[in-house]
């Protein structure tokens, strides 16, 4: 085994200098780069959100012109989804999966390096469009034609950036599946895999199935604009609504690509701090798989208002509703895990409970919009903005935070500052609700999304929302501080197990773990398998 995977001859002395990072084939270094990149993009996208909230603090136009405002909403979404959320998930997978399954490294370390280094190039292409004639993409992150075709010189840059991001995530996904399928330690059967690994296998399959479809859709946009094809051009016999179908065939599984790793993380964290094994392990695996499967049959609930026939609307309504069943199974299992457990509330646990509460709020507003007749009222209002931000920020990003706090002592060898961690949680939780909850109200009252100006009756709520937004943005600086302190080794020395009741292979390694995780594969038995 080791000749195959121990790809280089240095065993525990790391390469030094910039070369260590540029040419790295080490899953931990690449994981770190993914996570740092994700954190940087989180602040880049966050800065754009701050511009949006500053502009919306008052009705009328204050700081930016409408075209730039539209670029802000568009690029904020692209940066957050492809730059912050997805790399954060891949970064955690890189760090944790080899350690969790008892492997020395990822299966294809060089490809791993490539899939990371594509990202900075892709985002350079995307962000360069701000300095081009015609400006940055401003037609919404969904890139609907014909509006997106009106973009100036930045258009091919947008398309190629999306292509690069797709290639990067497909390579990452192939690597993860190849690792888990081929490099598990002896005795690590599939039904003994930690749930984080399971959610990532399923996420990786979703990525491989859906990202190429997006690549196809944007290629059609490219040829429509420059090569005279007419996929989405009515004059040539095409149909712009077709793009929406293809896009959301990718777009809905993408939602689960983002959220499933977060589900995996809190399935690791909640048992640890409840001091009980995860309730219903097998049902968790099957529920995750069915969510992923169903995600391919619900895409048109994003486009109820395009004028589909009634049968279509009903089909997509019931299909959408049915996803609530496996999701409900998961929420139930997490609550049942906590039931009668000896719970303690360290920062990772707080963030996980935050996911349970606030992801459910987003889930319920999602159910509301899944009801076709009422969706016509909510469509393209701030209600949908509230919905998907509840799912993404306290659902997905909190899951990533939980994972970072949970594994940070393992990565760095020192405990993070618990006081700062709790401060981060509480400030974020208060501000995130001030930020997103009132959006439900103004959305139901009719405020449209993606518009820089609004009716003066919405002023009060918008000011509260903006204040919540600034507070949430500033609160995230605490996380940076916590991470920097840990990275510098400031803090109590962490034990190997770190948490009193943490189970799983990653906790049998030293903190920080050796450069190559398991050079001799550990024997896994029921007693040593996860929790």
């Amino acid at each position: 085994m080791s000749e195959a995977v121990a790809h280089d001859d240095h065993h525990d002395h790391k390469p030094t200098g910039i070369g260590r990072w540029l040419f790295s084939t080490n899953h931990k270094d690449i994981g770190t780069m993914y996570l740092v990149f994700s954190l940087i993009m989180f602040f880049v996208g966050g800065a754009m959100a701050m511009v949006i909230r500053a502009e919306l603090f008052q009705p009328g136009l204050q700081f930016v012109d409408p075209q730039f405002f539209n670029s802000m909403t568009t690029v904020h979404a692209l940066v957050m989804i492809f730059g912050a959320l997805m790399p954060a998930g891949v970064g955690l997978a890189n760090w944790m999966i080899p350690m969790m399954i008892g492997a020395p490294d990822m299966a294809m370390p060089r490809m791993n390096n490539m899939s990371f280094w594509i990202l900075p190039f892709a985002f350079t292409l995307l962000l360069l469009t701000f300095f081009m004639p015609g400006g940055a993409p401003a037609g919404g992150w969904t890139m609907y034609p014909p509006l997106v075709l009106q973009l100036g010189d930045g258009f091919p840059f947008l398309i190629f950036a999306v292509h690069f991001l797709g290639v990067s995530s497909i390579m990452g996904a192939i690597n993860i599946i190849a690792t888990v399928f081929n490099m598990r330690a002896p005795g690590m059967t599939f039904m003994r895999l930690p749930l984080f690994v399971w959610t990532w296998i399923i996420t990786a399959f979703l990525l491989i199935a859906s990202m190429p479809v997006l690549a196809g859709a944007v290629t059609m946009l490219l040829t429509d604009k420059y090569f005279g094809t007419a996929f989405f051009n009515a004059a040539g016999g095409g149909d712009p609504v077709l793009f929406q179908h293809i896009f959301w065939f990718f777009g809905h599984p993408e939602v689960y690509i983002l959220v499933l790793p977060s589900f995996g993380i809190i399935s690791q964290v909640i048992p640890t701090f409840s001091r009980k094994p995860l309730f219903g392990y097998a049902s968790m695996v099957y529920a995750t798989a069915s969510i992923a499967f169903l995600s391919f049959f619900v895409w048109a609930h994003h486009m109820f208002t395009v004028g589909m026939p009634l049968t279509g609307e009903l089909f997509f309504m019931y299909a959408t509703m049915s996803i609530a069943v496996p999701t409900g199974v998961k929420i139930f299992n997490w609550m049942a895990t906590m039931w009668k457990g000896s719970m303690t509330f360290e920062t990772p646990m707080l963030f996980s409970i935050g996911v349970l509460f606030m992801f459910s709020i987003g889930g319920f507003s999602g159910l509301m919009m899944g009801i076709t007749p009422v969706d016509f009222q909510y469509h393209d209002t701030y209600f949908i903005v509230a919905h998907f931000h509840y799912v993404i920020v306290p659902g997905i990003i909190y899951g990533v935070f939980a994972g970072v706090y949970y594994w940070l002592p393992k990565w760095t060898g020192v405990m993070y500052d618990e006081k700062l961690g709790k401060l981060h949680f509480w400030l974020s939780t208060i501000s995130v609700n001030v930020l997103f909850f009132p959006m439900h109200f103004i959305g139901l009252a009719g405020m449209p999304r993606r518009i820089p100006d609004y009716n003066t009756i919405f002023t009060g709520w918008n000011q509260i929302i903006s204040i919540g937004g600034f507070a949430f943005g500033l609160s995230q600086l605490i996380l940076v501080w916590v991470v920097i302190k840990c990275a510098r080794g400031q803090g109590e020395k962490a034990t190997d197990q770190v948490w009193e009741s943490a189970h799983g292979l990653e906790w049998t390694l030293s903190s920080p773990p050796p450069f190559h995780s398991f050079t001799t594969p550990p024997q896994v038995t029921d007693a040593t398998a996860h929790s």
Partner: protein, 193 residues
């Protein structure tokens, strides 16, 4: 084990490439699906009129709607705004287009029928939308459309709208005309507008 890794990776890569193809396959699938279930407002094929089956017992109102795409310098209108027809009865209406610009323009009209259910039963025996239309500067042209509403039209449909939008072919496809004009033509012909 390295072999296993390579085998898994190859299979997954093939799967990814296949899904890229699937994205493209959605384009014809979408058209086939729309045609089979008769949605999307695309009207039926060119047909021979079947005058034996005229349903004299009921009347259906057909409205005519005309549009030109943004910045398309034609005036385009229908001579009758609405008309009551018996299902199965061949009816002819006329449209007028005037080129208000100072250059020769080739345009193509794209039809659609609402409600979408009705589009299955709306058949044209002659239409200016079957071919491209060229107008010299200032030229005016009267163009006929002959249509039949199928006698099998469900009872509950009492009214339908035929809408045309004129798109400029000469300008939007300047690049295209040299390279893939044939494709566009094929595309349009396949759709039997």
């Amino acid at each position: 084990m390295q072999q296993g890794v390579e085998r898994t990776a190859t299979k997954l890569a093939i799967f990814a490439i296949a899904m890229f193809g699937f994205g493209y396959a959605l384009v014809p699938l979408y058209d086939v699906f729309c045609e089979v279930v008769g949605i999307n407002g695309k009207t039926g094929k060119v047909v021979e009129a079947d005058i034996d089956r005229v349903d004299m017992d009921r009347l259906v109102t057909v409205e005519f709607d005309t549009n030109v795409n943004a910045d398309f310098p034609w005036e385009f209108d229908s001579l009758s705004k609405k008309i009551a027809v018996h299902p199965g009865q061949v009816t002819e209406v006329e449209y007028v287009a005037v080129n208000r610009s100072d250059r020769r323009i080739v345009g193509r009209a794209v039809p659609s029928v609402a409600p979408t259910k009705a589009s299955l039963y709306f058949n044209k025996t002659e239409c200016f939308c079957f071919t491209e239309q060229a107008l010299e500067p200032g030229e005016k042209k009267v163009m006929p459309v002959r249509f039949v509403v199928d006698a099998d039209l469900p009872e509950k449909i009492k009214m339908m709208t035929l809408s045309y939008t004129f798109f400029e072919v000469s300008e939007t496809d300047k690049v295209a005309r040299s390279s893939s004009n044939e494709n566009i033509k094929d595309n349009i012909n396949n759709k039997t507008l």
